[in-house]
């Protein structure tokens, strides 16, 4: 198949002025360039969100510390959460989906390239608007600055009475804008996968990556819509005299919670399912075996998507729901553990009997498996409603969801970077720096987030800018902060690797990992604008395996 691909070089960038290059990138509708834009944009915000996390951790290093004021601290955790979820995790995953889905299904672009560009710029606008609040948030009242209502913006804290000025408005409108961007991207991914697969690629032969992104996109539609609706209601409350969440006029604080968490919980799966997708591509290649139980993996993902739509109120076990509601949300939450467990077992089955190669992408995926296992088990603890009454709102929960987001999502993402960077840039990331990055990050991660569970068990609530000495929290918080610094250093190693390898990295060639999906059949980076000189035809889930093993093709067994 690679012989089908003519290597057509793009016009040499060196010959053009930087304004022409910039113009090309700003006006691009190419899914690969938009994917790269998403990823770079998210990396930029990753650094900003990381700086905010560092400020939080320095403040909490000692009891009664006064590194920052309570007002600044509250802005920091609000901005850290909002940034990391909406302007790092979502765009970076959309970036990978944008770049890889068309390549993996043998398409030349997304279904709606212009809508794709529109989505990206809307999301980008949202992020910049949120950060403009540092300058413009005071508004006419001189009150506020960046939003400080927490990333849930619980009612009535975000109402005009308790959040004067415009800081909450920046939060609302930024999320509304990026939310529309996300909905458009989801529609685009669904349309692309449904209608643009190459000949022979039935749904049952699609790479799991495409399947999982299809499910994720469906969830985005269901999850972001109520969030956007709630944002509009909040704006109506704040500016048009509405009383949806205005408790002083009889509105309901719990209504906002329901809206927020019916977005918020599926959102967790919106973020983790694409990471399952990375793992489902990387683990087989480095185990040298096909994914174990492909149909079960697809079924389990769809099952997670359905069940996770009915678990949102487990974020609200402490709001005084009656015992029947609490029991219902306890069992639905525990039930999500079953398909999730099935996925872990299937990855295990994939590695079983394989020949595992410990390249950097695989190291990160193995880290992902171990850490996601623990995150899932602390999730089970939190699903037991009475246990949750103790743990919810404490540092245990903070440790739990960072285990999911950093230990799970970020580790899988790093794996994805090491795996697909050669495809995107044409050069390999340095294995030496990669291993250093992995080990440093692993140590920092465990130092921070393993220990962070304990202050929660000892009664330390989240979102406090300082704490009393003598409650058994001091040493733990000190160590947690040290871990955060180790993670920061590891992240710098990663960024250095991205930059250095772009110029000095080993040439990758089309297929550096001896992999099996269609993106590895084209040049690295893939031909701009059209991807495939002639649209490929596939006969199995691993078209490149078939090509490399004509004597024993997959199509014989599927």
């Amino acid at each position: 198949m690679s012989s089908d691909v003519m290597a057509i070089q793009s016009a040499d960038a060196a010959g053009r002025s930087w304004t022409e290059v910039l113009h090309e990138w700003v006006t691009t509708v190419d899914h690969k360039r938009l994917g790269v834009l998403y990823i770079l944009y998210a990396l930029f915000f990753l650094v900003i969100g990381g700086i905010e996390a560092t400020i939080i951790r320095i403040q909490l290093m000692r009891p009664h510390n006064d590194f920052v004021s309570p007002q600044v601290f509250n802005r920091m955790f609000t901005m850290h959460g909002t940034t990391m979820i909406f302007f790092v995790a979502m765009p970076i995953l959309f970036g990978f989906a944008n770049y890889l889905v068309p390549l993996m299904i043998g398409a030349r672009d997304m279904a709606f390239p212009r809508l794709n560009a529109f989505s990206f710029w809307l999301t980008a606008f949202g992020g910049f608007l949120l950060y403009f609040s540092f300058l413009g948030g005071s508004g006419l009242y001189g009150a506020g600055n960046a939003p400080d209502v927490g990333w849930w913006a619980y009612a009535p804290l975000a109402s005009r009475a308790f959040s004067p000025g415009h800081s909450s408005d920046y939060w609302t409108i930024a999320l509304l804008a990026s939310g529309f961007g996300s909905i458009a991207t989801a529609i685009n991914i669904i349309a692309t996968i449904i209608s643009m697969r190459c000949p022979g690629m039935t749904l049952g032969r699609m790479p799991l990556f495409a399947w999982l992104n299809l499910v994720m996109s469906g969830m985005v539609l269901l999850a972001i819509s109520p969030l956007s609706a709630a944002q509009i209601m909040l704006l109506v409350d704040r500016y048009l005299g509405g009383h949806f969440f205005d408790t002083q006029a009889g509105g309901s604080a719990t209504l906002w919670m329901h809206f927020f968490w019916i977005f918020g919980h599926p959102e967790v799966y919106v973020l983790i399912i694409p990471c399952f997708a990375f793992a489902s591509e990387i683990i087989p290649v480095f185990s040298r075996k096909p994914i174990f139980g492909y149909p079960v993996m697809v079924g389990a993902t769809v099952c997670i998507a359905f069940v996770s739509m009915s678990v949102w109120a487990h974020h609200m076990f402490t709001i005084g729901m009656n015992s029947y509601a609490n029991s219902f949300f306890a069992i639905t939450t525990m039930a999500v553990g079953v398909p999730t467990g099935i996925k872990i077992f299937n990855w295990l089955g994939t590695m079983w009997g394989g020949k595992i190669q410990f390249k950097t992408p695989m190291l990160f995926c193995i880290g992902f498996l171990f850490q996601f296992l623990i995150a899932g088990l602390t999730g089970i603890m939190l699903s037991a409603a009475p246990f949750n009454w103790q743990l919810s709102g404490s540092y245990f929960v903070v440790a739990h969801f960072h285990y999911v987001i950093v230990g799970g999502i970020l580790f899988a993402l790093f794996g994805a970077f090491y795996y697909w960077y050669p495809k995107i840039t044409g050069r390999m990331l340095s294995e030496t720096l990669g291993k250093l990055h992995f080990w440093l990050f692993l140590i920092g991660f465990h130092l921070t987030f393993d220990l962070m569970h304990i202050p929660g068990v000892l009664g330390m609530p989240r979102r406090i800018y300082t704490y009393e000495p003598g409650r058994g929290w001091d040493t733990l918080n000190y160590l947690v902060t040290i871990g955060a610094f180790v993670q920061s250093i590891a992240t710098l190693v990663f960024v250095a690797n991205l930059i250095v390898s772009y110029f000095k990295g080993k040439k990758a060639g089309n297929d550096p990992w001896d992999a099996w999906t269609l993106e590895w059949s084209v040049s690295s980076p893939p031909p701009p604008a059209y991807n495939f000189a002639s649209i490929p035809t596939v006969a199995s889930r691993r078209p490149l395996w078939d090509l490399k093993h004509p004597e024993d093709p997959d199509s014989r067994y599927e």
Binding site: S69, L363, G367, A384, W389, G393, R462, R463
Partner: protein, 358 residues
């Protein structure tokens, strides 16, 4: 096409560090539990595993069960993963052939679906039982009733049957299992969401405006139990601390009687009282027997019976009281108490007056 077989050495450090890193978490949780059960008299560490009240006890028992089950799952899956990573690593002596290509197995899939389903059923039944036992517990006739109202950033406690109003430091009677006198709290909020959490006595329950929630606790032994607001409520969420004093039956009666008394009227401090009654103090604060009936701030009728000021942010000493009135931001920046801008003479008189409110 050629098949590349990578020659890779065993990555032992991966495995070892994984074992160490992950064992840390569970060791840590157990350590925390051990630490706190070792010294039952000292309640300075509000550990959820050092419980002293029926709801917290039932939660602790459930949590040990859940920890046991999840710990077991962890051990099994962790061992499997470690085994796979070690056993099936690619070896230098490998031939260049790819391993056998296996696509799946229905029997195995069924096994690892059904076993987790059974575990979920067991966990759910255990959970539902405790939910019911705590939430649907009947209220005995001897129960003490308290209304707790969350404010930015302090706690108001009212004992409707007893005519007592206090703030930030809740007094409850010890509850004897032969003669239970639990305390049932109605939880309200005056402004934003808050959460009532005393880890050693009960799980947390939110205080939400326009909504009445309930919780209960029945400390088995006397002592001071610490907690704090557990739902982000604004700038000073961190210093919305909470103290619960579990008193013996006699001490509780004495405390109630003391609180029921009208405010001390010491004529020697009339000047300070005049300051209180003629400045903005009385917009927010009440002192029984004066014309101050404000409810935005804590009731000061028996201010001196409390150990702390500013919802636990500072010890209740004359110096701290003076500082708190003069410049609240020095103790609790962002609290809603304004700096009163009194003259030194007025400030001294006022502090002396407040000192008499025992």
């Amino acid at each position: 096409m050629r098949i590349v077989e990578t020659m890779q050495k065993a990555d032992w450090p991966t495995i070892i560090s994984r074992v160490v890193g992950v064992a840390l978490l569970f060791a840590g949780v157990l350590l925390a539990a051990g630490l706190c059960t070792a010294t039952p008299q000292d309640n300075s560490v509000p550990s959820i595993f050092d419980s002293h009240s029926t709801p917290a006890d039932s939660i602790r028992h459930l949590s040990f069960f859940v920890l046991g089950v999840t710990g077991l799952i962890f051990l099994v899956v962790f061992s499997l993963l470690s085994y796979v990573v070690v056993k099936f690593r690619s070896r230098a002596a490998d031939t260049v052939r790819e391993p056998a290509q296996v696509y799946g197995s229905t029997q195995i899939e069924l096994a690892w679906t059904i076993i987790p389903v059974l575990i979920v059923v067991v966990l759910f039944l255990a959970t539902a039982r405790v939910i019911h036992a705590i939430q649907d517990a009947p209220k005995p006739a001897e129960a003490v009733e308290v209304t707790a109202i969350g404010h930015q950033f302090w706690w108001e406690f009212r004992y409707p049957g007893l005519g007592v109003v206090t703030a930030n430091e809740l007094h409850v009677p010890v509850s004897d299992s032969s003669h239970p006198t639990p305390t049932f709290l109605r939880l309200l909020s005056a402004d934003t969401d808050h959460s009532f959490w005393i880890p050693q006595l009960a799980g947390k329950t939110d205080l939400i405006p326009n909504r009445v929630n309930e919780t209960w606790l029945d400390p088995h032994e006397t002592g001071l139990f610490l907690g704090q607001c557990a739902q982000y409520c604004g700038t000073q969420h961190a210093k919305m601390l909470l103290r619960v004093y579990a008193d013996g039956p006699e001490d509780f009666k004495v405390w109630i009687r003391g609180q029921q008394h009208p405010a001390n009227q010491d004529e020697r401090e009339a000047a300070g009282r005049r300051v209180f009654e003629t400045t903005a103090c009385l917009n927010c604060h009440a002192v029984g027997g004066t014309n101050g009936t404000g409810r935005f701030g804590p009731d000061l009728t028996h201010l001196m019976s409390r150990h702390t000021l500013a919802s636990g942010a500072a010890e209740n000493t004359p110096e701290n009281l003076r500082l708190w009135i003069e410049n609240p931001d020095a103790i609790k920046p962002g609290s809603l108490m304004p700096a009163m801008k009194l003259s030194d003479a007025d400030l001294d008189a006022l502090v002396r007056y407040l000192e008499t409110l025992r």
